[in-house]
């Protein structure tokens, strides 16, 4: 069973179709981005230039639209931000409140999915931080 993080890119709303604003990232293989190749290249500069929290970037209205796509939203381009446990808890409760869903492959969705995905992101962030700490 795979855990996906779905990234929503509000700037791409000009494309008028919500589905095109979403890319899925398999958290077990995060550098292979699924979805349309075209979207990946559109998305990439955003990921480099925006590091805020997606919670700030998504409106309730947008979320309602996204629900129709059985998509998950748990975080944004700042995946490797210093996600502390406290932040995780805040994020988790926010997700709970707004009814965000997290998809598993071909499956439906639960909050446990968000929990798993966020924990993976924390683990990845810690890997990189460890490299920085141990560099010569």
């Amino acid at each position: 069973m795979k855990t996906y993080m779905t990234v929503f890119i509000p700037e791409l709303n000009i494309m008028k179709t919500v589905s095109k604003d979403i890319i899925k990232i398999d958290l077990d293989n995060p550098f292979k981005v699924s979805g349309k190749k075209d979207n990946y290249y559109r998305v990439d500069p955003y990921l480099y230039s925006n590091n805020g929290h997606i919670i700030d970037a998504i409106s309730e209205k947008q979320l309602k639209n996204l629900n129709t796509y059985e998509s998950a939203i748990i975080a944004n381009g700042g995946y490797l931000s210093d996600i502390l446990e406290l932040e995780f808890n805040i994020l988790y409760h926010q997700l709970e409140n707004i009814g965000v869903i997290v998809t598993y492959t071909g499956d439906c969705v639960n909050y446990e999915g968000a929990r798993i995905a966020v924990r993976k992101m924390i683990a990845y962030a810690n890997e990189i931080k460890a490299i920085c700490e141990n560099r010569a």
């Binding site: 550098f31 890997e127 700490e133 560099r135």
Partner: protein, 37 residues
Amino acid sequence: MFGATPYLVEAFSDLPEVEAREILRNWMRTFSERHPA
């Protein structure tokens, strides 16, 4: 993951952005070795 560089620079004051970027790039490159499918 792709946007980690500024966070690394922020977290490690002695880490130049260029090096942070390289560390991130290297982490991505070697990801599958540490996390085999």
